[in-house]
């Protein structure tokens, strides 16, 4: 039995286990009230043990070592790039999302080649760099650029890598199986800590030398061959390469099943079997959907998109993609955002009354739930239309309107209470409440319990301005 197997799983780790190894002086240097509070946060991964200054002193060296081993994630965390744009990959603690929050969301690298015309190349890099979508009040971006050498010519690759590095601060992945080409790229961006892609059974020795010489993380690539993948990982470790990324191969068509199974086996081995050779981040290449090009471009982009989401659901820690189209990337980055949220907490906002613009005693009163996605959607629609209004946010335990109505998290009773508690009755003269279209079912009961007249609003909050222009102020009956 390996040490890893007898070691407590991440889930079973208790604050006491950590506390016992801390200095226990309650010095507060970490900013916490005492060592136990710090231990609790450390177990929840809200602080790192390095944030305890005394622990780093010589006399606690042994305890620090033990803590580091105890807290080490099942999958090694690797840094690619430098500075503000560096990405952390891997660092996973568990196999299933419900066991513990997934850490370090999967960076998406957009691919360019060294044979693209300069303007085309720079245009794609800048577009990837500038990709941005505002999702529930958070900006979602793309994270890396992968430069492929299709020319197989060192000077050509070097020149392309230089251009890309100049155009963006995003971390880079250098892709070539030729050590000469790779070195030309590495020379161009010595100081950028790129990821090398990739060492194979043919070029492993030269690639290992390059990884050591330039001190960069290195990918090992063994398509559909986990035995070889482990052997290469072992060889690299013995060679002195510490930061390894694993690519078991992405087969978007025939072999999709093998792909998903390989990714799953690698991660299960790392998380549950203590397999040190597979305890590294996994790299997926949905870009392989474009190989062969037998179908129209839309079909290939479509395939690339769904393979990306499948791989992220099955443990990919980095993805390399070709398509930059918004319709391809939007579901991909949103799904990525979603699975990296804390599964223990519904994404909820505070309930209560919100005031928009400068409403007066005749301004409309709207209602929604405290599910963050619902709330931010409604909020952005109200703000975009510059409405003056009140909004009552009902505590539905972070459940969206439709599900909250079905699951009885949003009821007439809760609505009536929320209205009463909000103090809105002192703020407006009218008694007309606009409820979401998805809660139409509750109209009658809300009227009976709250004494407010109900106006059923649109099913999607983008329809609020239209509704108000047609139905507000309400006609007296």
């Amino acid at each position: 039995m390996t040490e890893r197997e007898i070691k407590k799983g991440i889930k079973e780790l208790s604050p006491i286990d950590v506390y016992m190894l801390l200095p226990r002086t309650n010095c507060k240097e970490c900013g916490e009230a005492n060592c136990m509070a710090f231990a609790t946060k450390a177990v929840n991964r809200e602080v790192s043990i390095e944030q305890c200054p005394p622990l780093l002193e010589k006399k606690y060296e042994k305890a620090y070592g033990k803590l580091r081993e105890m807290m080490a994630p099942a999958v090694k965390e690797i840094i690619i790039g430098t500075g503000n744009h560096a990405v952390k990959v891997g660092g996973k603690l568990v196999l299933y999302r419900h066991e513990f929050t997934y850490h370090n969301l999967t960076p998406i690298a957009i691919e360019v080649t060294d044979e693209m015309a300069e303007d085309e190349l720079l245009d794609k890099v800048r577009k990837a760099d500038g990709f941005s979508y505002n999702y529930i009040g958070r900006e979602v971006n793309l994270d890396m650029i992968a430069v492929r050498s299709t020319s197989n010519d060192p000077p050509t690759f070097k020149s392309a890598v230089e251009k890309v590095a100049k155009a963006t601060e995003l971390p880079l992945i250098l892709c070539s199986f030729s050590p000469n080409v790779m070195e030309a790229g590495l020379v161009a961006i010595k100081d950028r800590n790129p990821l090398i892609y990739a060492a194979t059974e043919n070029n492993w020795r030269d690639m290992a030398e390059l990884a050591l010489m330039y001190n960069c993380p290195l990918t090992v690539f063994a398509p559909n061959n986990l035995k070889l993948l482990r052997s290469l990982a072992k060889t690299m470790i013995e060679y002195g390469v510490e930061n390894i990324v694993l690519d078991p191969g992405t087969f978007p068509d025939e072999g999709l099943s093998d792909t998903i199974n390989n990714f799953t086996m690698v991660r299960r081995n790392a998380c549950n079997k203590g397999d040190k050779l597979l305890s590294f981040p996994i790299l997926g290449t949905p870009i392989t959907a474009w190989i062969g090009k037998k179908a129209p471009e839309d079909m290939l982009a479509w395939k690339e998109a769904y393979v990306a989401s499948m791989l992220m659901s099955r443990y990919a820690d980095i993805l390399i993609m070709h398509s930059l189209d918004g319709w391809v990337q939007l579901p991909t980055v949103i799904w990525r955002f979603n699975i990296y949220t804390d599964p223990r907490k519904p994404v909820a906002v505070e309930s209560g009354l919100r005031i928009f613009g400068e409403p007066d005693e005749n301004s409309p009163l709207l209602l929604t739930t405290n599910y963050a996605l619902t709330y931010f959607t409604v909020e952005s629609d109200i703000k975009a239309a510059k409405l003056n209004c009140y909004l009552v946010v009902v505590d539905t335990e972070g459940i969206s309107v439709e599900s909250a109505v079905a699951g009885r998290y949003l009821t007439a009773e809760k609505t009536a209470d929320a209205i009463k508690e909000s103090g809105i009755e002192q703020k407006v003269k009218h008694r007309h409440l606009i409820i979401p279209g998805m809660a139409a079912r509750l109209s009658g009961e809300i009227e009976d319990l709250s004494g407010w007249r109900v106006i059923v609003g649109p099913r999607d909050s983008s329809g609020i301005p239209k509704l108000l222009s047609e139905k507000w102020p309400p006609k007296e009956e």
């Binding site: 044979e115 990739a198 993948l229 025939e254 099943s257 199974n261 549950n272 090009k293 918004g326």
Partner: protein, 406 residues
């Protein structure tokens, strides 16, 4: 120092280097060190500090001269439980009139753990049709426009044109807030559909517990022996004291119940316990709620993973096949709304939204999918087929992807 990304070229001893490597950030002010000849980068106040950059590698024991051969053993685990098999639809010989039946469930491992134990049955897609012309996103409407006024024709279209293995008839017109059509009208609709197509059916209600019970009771009689799925039975019905009526009608007429709960496994177990009083276990499916991508799909994903693992670990109250109302994906505005030109065309964005939702839930263990867009349905079927067969990966196909011209 102090400015971001200012390069500091200083000389440090190996001891200091060792120490530095333990720290994410370090502040050096007015320091002048001159030992050894190593160069490092210092980047104060950066979000993620890079490892110190060492040009000369540390000396090594012995570098391997050949690949160090390691073995790989698939990580197989044993489970005490398994998912029940449930048959949908009944042929003539079985007391119904379907051309063929559909079997789902039976999993003995997490979804598509082919290396462990392949599932005995592939997940299945059922196409949604409605008993009246309802408002649908344009991307879907354009495919079904011509049949929207005739439920039976719509069902036939779903089977013949889109290759539906099953059809779900949503009796939305029975909603007291919509048309309030009668249970007798609803039954007539179901009879027509049963005659128009020979695939197994799911009968969807309107969501009003009392009305649904009345409609399901009547439909159960009319469709006697057809082993339809009643979608859905809820704890609201239990609360209103009418769950028994409908569950009994389902059992008496040989149908299957879909037990719907809202993202809560304790509720799912409770509802199942109540249904066990009336129905055999292999005539119960679960709907644990499918939220749209961007609007809570991750909750659905995780609850399905949890339910499936609990079932395999031996929780008998969760050992039922699960259904996802994947058409809910279209509730996400990103699926249908006109956005800026950089996010278009929405004719692709919308069905991709549904496809991604379906596929991630496929990996979480869902057995039966209610879907709508033909492109999403087609992709889903192709992917299921691919996932069901292993050993087809050919390394040479992707081995040189790096140099492929796209």
């Amino acid at each position: 120092m102090g400015e971001e990304k200012k390069k500091a070229s200083i000389k440090v001893s190996p001891e200091l280097l060792e120490l530095l490597s333990k720290f994410q950030e370090i502040e050096l002010e007015d320091v002048d060190i001159e030992v050894g000849d190593l160069e490092i980068w210092l980047q104060p106040t950066t979000a993620v500090a890079a490892p110190p950059r060492v040009v000369a590698p540390p000396p090594l024991k012995v570098k391997p001269k050949a690949i160090l051969e390691e073995d790989f053993i698939p990580p197989i685990e044993e489970y005490s439980g398994s998912v029940l098999e449930v048959k949908l639809g009944a042929t003539k010989g079985e007391g119904g009139s379907r051309g063929k039946t559909v079997m789902i469930g039976g999993a003995t491992s997490p979804a598509f753990y082919m290396f462990e134990r392949p599932p005995p049955h592939a997940p299945v897609v059922t196409l949604d049709v409605f008993d009246m012309a309802i408002s649908l996103p344009k991307a879907i409407r354009m495919h079904v426009q011509e049949v929207m006024e005739d439920t039976a024709a719509w069902a036939k279209f779903a089977v013949e044109k889109f290759g539906a293995e099953m059809v779900t008839v949503h009796l939305v017109s029975t909603d007291p807030l919509i048309k309030d059509t009668s249970p007798a009208d609803a039954s007539k609709t179901i009879e027509n559909v049963l005659q128009a197509v020979d695939v197994p059916l799911i009968v969807g209600g309107c969501g009003d517990p009392k009305k649904d019970v009345a409609v399901f009771k009547k439909v159960s009689e009319v469709a006697h022996g057809e082993r339809v799925v009643l979608s859905s039975l809820t704890l609201d019905m239990a609360e209103a004291g009418i769950l028994g009526d409908v569950a009994k009608a389902a059992n008496d007429n040989g149908h299957t119940a879909l037990a719907f709960t809202a993202l809560d496994l304790n509720q799912a177990k409770e509802l199942n316990r109540r249904l066990y009083e009336f129905l055999p276990k292999d005539r119960i499916l679960m709907d644990l709620t499918t939220a749209a991508l961007g609007y809570g799909l991750e909750y659905s994903f995780t609850i399905h993973e949890r339910a499936r693992i609990a079932a395999l670990m031996g929780d008998q109250e969760l050992q039922h096949p699960v259904l996802s109302g994947t058409t809910n994906s279209w509730a996400a505005r990103e699926a249908w709304m006109k956005m800026g030109p950089e996010w278009e065309p929405r004719e692709l964005r919308g069905p991709l939204w549904e496809t991604v939702s379906a596929l991630v839930l496929l990996l979480a263990g869902v057995d039966l999918f209610m879907m709508m867009h033909p492109a999403a349905v087609k992709t889903m079927k192709e992917v299921v087929e691919k996932l069901m067969s292993t050993g087809k990966a050919r390394p040479e196909k992707i081995a040189d992807w790096v140099t492929v011209k796209i």
